[in-house]
Assembly symmetry: C2
Homo-oligomer: 106 residues x 2
DNA sequence: TATTTGTGCAACCAATTAGTTTCATATAAT
DNA sequence: ATTATATGAAACTAATTGGTTGCACAAATA
């Protein structure tokens, strides 16, 4: 199935998984301990996160370590960039206003 | 209903609406022209986007102009920031490696 | 070899979602 | 005053989602 990063990060449990995995790679069992839901539920989240490449799998015997694929996270940042221009411009406008006020006070 | 920014941007139609509205405030009718689905479907998306404060409404007679609330967009950026540190560190590590290679070549 | 452990997958289910059609209402135009 | 337009809300529906339980299977351990 074609998975989308935005759809993946929409779920709060998945964002929590991302946060946990960001500091260190973890196995499904270890991750599941942090949640109320079953290991299988967590496993399904891991599948979704892996399918959209937000997570990478590292096999070690029968264990699978899931780690964050930071590169894919940048995709969200890339999407935000077009809007960043807008809010930075807002700041510039504000700067101008402040500068004007300042010069008038002199 | 309590609406979440991440859930709001998960839908591709809603992201398209955000993009359209980013350049200029638009009415539901004007927006609906850009999509295959009905005006009411677009209206429901607008409701979700407004509820999570990604959009603001500007009333003008019987028309309602929807405009982007850039401030709320920054919430996503704020979430990303903790991961930005990680990918910037990766870059620094890479820089070190490149620097080492460079000095060896000399 | 027999058993335990770590994992993914399938089948099922309740809740949510994104769409539809049909309305009600307020403003604008004739 | 009547009609047309812009909009939101309600009721319904099909598809998707996030959860469950039960299973299969490979790797580690006894």
């Amino acid at each position: 199935m074609r998975r989308d990063v935005f759809q993946a990060i929409a779920d709060p449990t998945r964002r929590a998984i991302i946060l946990l995995v960001a500091s260190q790679a973890m196995t499904p069992n270890a991750l599941a301990e942090h949640f109320d839901s079953s290991r299988q539920a967590v496993s399904k989240h891991l599948r979704i996160l892996t399918e959209c490449e937000l997570l990478k799998q590292e096999y070690s015997g029968r264990e699978i370590y899931y780690e964050l694929n930071v590169t894919k996270m940048q995709e969200v940042d890339k999407w935000l960039e077009q809007y960043k221009k807008i809010w930075e411009n807002r700041f510039n406008e504000l700067d101008k206003v402040l500068a004007t006020i300042k010069s008038k006070k002199k």
